[in-house]
């Protein structure tokens, strides 16, 4: 879109990562016709794969020995306002760029035969959404960040509202208005920072901007309003179960795997480094809210009768782990939180895909409508059990690594907090495994279950990819932690220095 100044000799990989999916989405929208869905689907898959391929160089060319921003692109965008088109990734954000592009492929595959009405609009919405979310993770300019952050609402609103379930209108509005409320306050905080920094939207400049304690508190709460809603933290989490239940499978996958991470990423990139003193003084509050999310929401998940709702609540509980890890300010905690974010991206996405597989066959998500699925769908149940185990945080799956690191960090911070956080492992096992037991095992519950067809090759492919990712990350998390380690250390170092 714009020529870069600093990286003018190299390929602008970040710009490509953002705009390749958006352009592909527009092409799908323009060329796709509803009477020829096959073409649209192939085109979308092709676009999603290309979009993923252009993010690979970000990992291959990444220098994990420095905490500085890499692949930086910077050029003036709005001169009157000193807004720059400024992109860059560090060891924290690079993962989310890759994860987003990866999940988009899965989403396209997941919607393959399931979505039959307005296919081109569906696929285009996801491709455009993917580019916008990558933009959030790559933006180093406050206004650019905000534009991407808020623009993601529009496609998601359409996705939930058009292809969603019976109560989709309510869910779409709730999702939109909740998140908009938080982000509008953030906008005011951004403008405050713009004035305080003498007219700069540069996030890295804001990191070093000295601020008094009162403005810090105000900014912290403005950020909290946006990011807590997005994460979501208790008590502003109520939009998530509604959105998840009503959204189509692809929508739930993107929501859980990536959109929630936008909030946690906001804490990492903005709240902690810009207002470190307020973050430190308010850490007690955040830890308390996180523990409530972990324990209380874990209990709420236990009694759900709708599978999607159950996974939605388990998402909130897992994100509670993330916010807990971020606000205990030690390496294990923060790295654990980031690993947990990536892992949850895979696991929750896989769980929603599994539920989608069942829903496509039975058109119900009630746990009570199932039972003994293993008799007719053995392949499916293999995956289902694996992902549920990962959801429960079983060792050798990705779910374990993050939770374990956060608990370690929490114990180091305060034993009792660690102990309370660890109950999540028990609760997680309880709600995940109990659901598996009720859905998959036992005798076939009814004729519908007896007539079920096992996975198609498309579904098998999609779930295998997820399974490989989950197991690989569980057994060998080193590549992930290696890349982020220096950046996390630098962040903690920065946060520990008071700005007062």
């Amino acid at each position: 879109m714009m020529a870069s100044e600093m990286a003018s000799f190299s390929t602008p990989w970040l710009t490509l990562s953002i705009f390749v999916p958006i352009v592909c989405g527009l092409i799908v929208l323009a060329l796709g016709r509803d009477d020829r869905p096959g073409l649209t689907r192939s085109l979308s898959l092709f676009g999603a794969i290309i979009s993923f391929l252009v993010t690979i160089p970000l990992y291959l060319g990444f220098d994990s020995s420095t905490a500085a921003m890499q692949f930086v692109e910077k050029s003036i965008w709005i001169e009157a306002f000193a807004v720059y088109y400024h992109l860059g990734v560090d060891g924290i954000s690079v993962w989310f760029v890759l994860l987003t592009a990866f999940i988009t492929i899965i989403v396209v595959i997941a919607g393959w035969e399931v979505i039959t009405s307005r296919v081109s609009q569906y696929m285009a919405a996801f491709l455009i959404l993917s580019g916008l979310m990558i933009g959030v993770f790559a933006a180093l300019d406050g206004l650019l960040f905000y534009i991407f952050f808020e623009a993601t609402l529009i496609p998601m609103y359409i996705i939930v509202g058009v292809w969603g379930g019976p109560n989709r209108v309510y869910a779409a509005f709730k999702f939109f208005l909740y998140t908009l409320m938080g982000s509008l306050l953030t906008l005011v905080a951004f403008l405050y920072l713009w004035n305080a920094s003498g007219g700069s939207f540069d996030i890295l400049t804001w990191h070093t901007l000295p601020l008094d304690s009162t403005p810090q508190l105000f900014i912290f709460f403005a950020f909290l309003a946006a990011f807590a809603v997005k994460v979501p933290m208790w008590p502003v989490h109520t939009w998530l179960p509604d959105a998840h239940v009503e959204a189509p499978t692809g929508g739930s996958v993107v929501l859980a795997a990536i959109m929630l991470k936008l909030g946690a990423y906001g804490f990492l990139r903005l709240s902690l480094p810009i207002v470190p003193d307020a973050a430190a003084s308010m850490s007690g509050l955040i830890i308390a809210l996180s523990l409530i999310a972990v324990i209380y929401i874990g209990l709420v998940a236990l009694i759900q009768e709708d599978m999607k709702k159950l996974v939605a609540y388990s998402s909130i509980a897992h994100m509670g782990f993330v916010t807990l890890g971020l606000f205990i300010f030690n390496t294990a905690g923060v790295e654990g939180a980031i690993v947990q974010m990536v892992s949850h991206g895979f696991v929750s996405a896989a769980m929603f895909l599994c539920i989608g597989v069942l829903y496509d066959r039975m058109h119900t998500r009630d746990i009570s409508a199932y039972g003994g699925v293993v008799n007719t769908m053995p392949k499916f149940v293999t995956f289902f059990v694996l992902f549920s185990m990962a959801n429960a945080g079983l060792p050798a799956t990705s779910g374990f690594v993050g939770e374990f690191m956060v608990i370690m960090g929490a114990v180091e911070y305060n034993f009792w907090i660690g102990l309370l956080a660890a109950t999540a492992l028990i609760l997680g096992a309880a709600y995940s495994l109990w659901m598996v037991k009720r859905v998959a095992f036992g005798d076939s519950a009814n004729d519908h279950v007896r007539d079920l067809q096992d996975l198609s090759s498309r579904e098998f492919l999609m779930l295998s990819i997820m399974a490989i990712a989950v197991i690989f990350m569980g057994i060998y998390p080193k590549p992930f932690t290696d890349v982020m380690h220096v950046s996390v250390e630098a962040l903690l170092q920065h946060v520990s220095i008071s700005k007062l």
């Binding site: 009157a80 529009i154 359409i158 509005f173 306050l185 403008l191 405050y192």
Partner: protein, 495 residues
């Protein structure tokens, strides 16, 4: 700076429009064509010519006063005039089929009245004196009253015309009263001389204060700010949509111009008194506009309330100038208001244009529910509606967001954090009803029978597409327009 006492070249656009307007009136009277193609074509040609003249004037840096300061030509005026020409031209193109199918061309005055309303607006935009302001205002208003009443046999239109006329006259009365107070206090009608007189500190404060109050009230009437907004929904709803668009677009620019000229240029010294008034008007407009819009089922009425809330934003921008007359701060405050109103007019044009598109012979697209299932009938019009509604709601990356951002920035710059928070909270409420339109367009299925969207001419289709895309493109690339707004504001303030 004064080039000569009577520099006609400066006022060339007005003179050209007056002459050509009369020519069109005569030619049209002779023409018997039911489609009035001649008047239509000539009107568009006139607008094209005017645009060329004003662009040339802007480019050649033709700046100055003429007719003893009655008439001011500055970059601010040129830019607003160019925007008005474009707005009027788009109105004519979008409304072409609509007015024809509603038998509003029988008398043929439609085009001439629109042109004379434009002439009034241009006089307002270039006014440097209370007399020219009032002259322009009345010329514009009289033409608009007649336009609203165009469908004589239509009860709603007649009612709207009556309301518009009575309340409009009341507002003009307010203005006139305020002007007379000002004249009484300062002995001057010229805005620059008034400014000098006020800053001399020799003026009795009481008549001055009264004058400002009446003028602000009159302006608020014309802008449609709460609590002087009662006419807006009724007139917007009652007038034929083509006329609604005539009212909703270009006149806002003219009223904005006289607001800036009077309050900023004329009584800049009194800002400490009129700023609080504007703040109250602005916040009330945001509150009432947004809250009431939620309850509307009629699309035009909803857009009317949305206009009220947008005027609230513009007024907040006007209220956030610096009290000490610091040019830099004032430039950014008033420049942001200018950017807001220009982009708002652009978005409004496309919104009402769409409404006219969806109306057919014998069918008015009036209610929000009439938009049901638009996505199925015409995905491109649906995308357009999505872009427009998101822009009005102030969502990035559309131009409505950039405009709101500028206003918020102006508010923070003048240390009015709480006003900024109030403004964003009301935009949140506002987002709801724009989202509802998107919901109707995308989520709902159309009520049977599905009526295809009528085919429109290539020209209007193309313009519509450009208009809608501009909302997106300007949202992504607001830099040049922002710079232009700041630049012309700076020129006017430091003149």
């Amino acid at each position: 700076m004064m080039q000569s006492q009577f520099d006609f070249a400066l006022a060339a656009p007005e003179i050209i429009l007056l002459v050509l307007g009369l020519v069109i009136l005569v030619l049209d009277a002779l023409s018997q064509s039911p489609r009035r193609t001649l008047a239509y074509g000539l009107s568009l040609l006139t607008l094209g010519l005017l645009t060329a003249v004003s662009v040339w004037q802007l480019g050649a840096g033709m700046v100055g006063e003429t007719f003893s300061g009655l008439y001011v030509a500055d970059p601010f005026a040129h830019v607003l005039k160019i925007a008005s020409y474009i707005a009027v031209a788009l109105t004519l193109v979008y409304g072409r089929e609509y007015i024809q199918s509603r038998d509003m061309l029988r008398g043929g005055e439609f085009y001439v009245l629109v042109l004379f309303a434009l002439l009034g607006q241009m006089v307002m935009i270039s006014a440097g004196n209370f007399l020219t302001i009032y002259l322009g205002l009345e010329l514009m208003s009289l033409a608009l009253y007649a336009l609203v009443a165009m469908r004589r046999d239509h009860a709603q239109s007649t009612e709207a015309a009556m309301k518009y006329f009575v309340l409009g006259s009341l507002a003009s009365g307010f203005m006139l009263y305020g002007m007379s107070m000002m004249y009484g206090a300062t002995g001057n009608l010229d805005l620059k001389n008034i400014a000098d007189a006020v800053s001399s500190g020799q003026i009795d404060f009481l008549p001055l204060a009264f004058g400002v109050v009446f003028l602000v009230a009159g302006l608020a009437f014309k802008l449609g700010a709460v609590p002087f907004h009662m006419w807006v929904p009724d007139v917007y709803q009652g007038a034929p949509t083509a006329v609604t668009l005539v009212l909703a677009a270009a006149p806002k620019l003219a009223v904005f111009a006289i607001t800036v000229r009077m309050l900023v240029v004329g009584f800049g010294e009194l800002a400490v008194h009129w700023q609080p008034m504007l703040m109250i008007l602005g916040v009330l407009s945001l509150a009432i506009g947004n809250l009431t819009a939620i309850m509307q089922t009629n699309f035009k009425r909803m857009l009317a309330y949305s206009t009220i809330s947008h005027m609230g934003f513009v007024i907040l921008g006007l209220a956030s100038g610096a009290l000490d007359g610091d040019i830099q701060a004032n430039t950014s405050a008033y420049g942001s208001a200018l950017f807001y109103i220009l982009t708002y007019v652009l978005t409004t044009l496309a919104s009402f244009g769409l409404v006219m598109y969806l109306s057919r012979e014998g069918f008015e697209c009036e209610n929000i529910d009439d938009l049901k299932g638009l996505n199925r009938r015409s995905p491109w019009l649906a995308v357009m509606m999505l872009i427009l509604m998101c822009s009005l709601a102030g969502l990035p990356p559309l131009v409505g967001f950039d405009a709101k951002l500028l206003i918020l920035q102006a508010l923070l710059q003048s240390d009015r954090l709480w006003l900024a928070v109030v403004a964003v909270m009301f935009s949140l409420i506002g987002a709801f009803y724009y989202l509802r339109v998107i919901k109707v367009v995308y989520f709902d299925d159309s009520v049977e029978p599905v009526t295809p969207v009528p085919a429109m001419g290539v020209v209007s289709n193309g313009l519509m597409l450009i208009n809608g895309s501009l909302v997106l493109v300007l949202g992504l690339m607001p830099g040049p327009l922002m710079a232009l707004c700041l630049q012309v504001m700076h020129a006017t303030l430091s003149y």
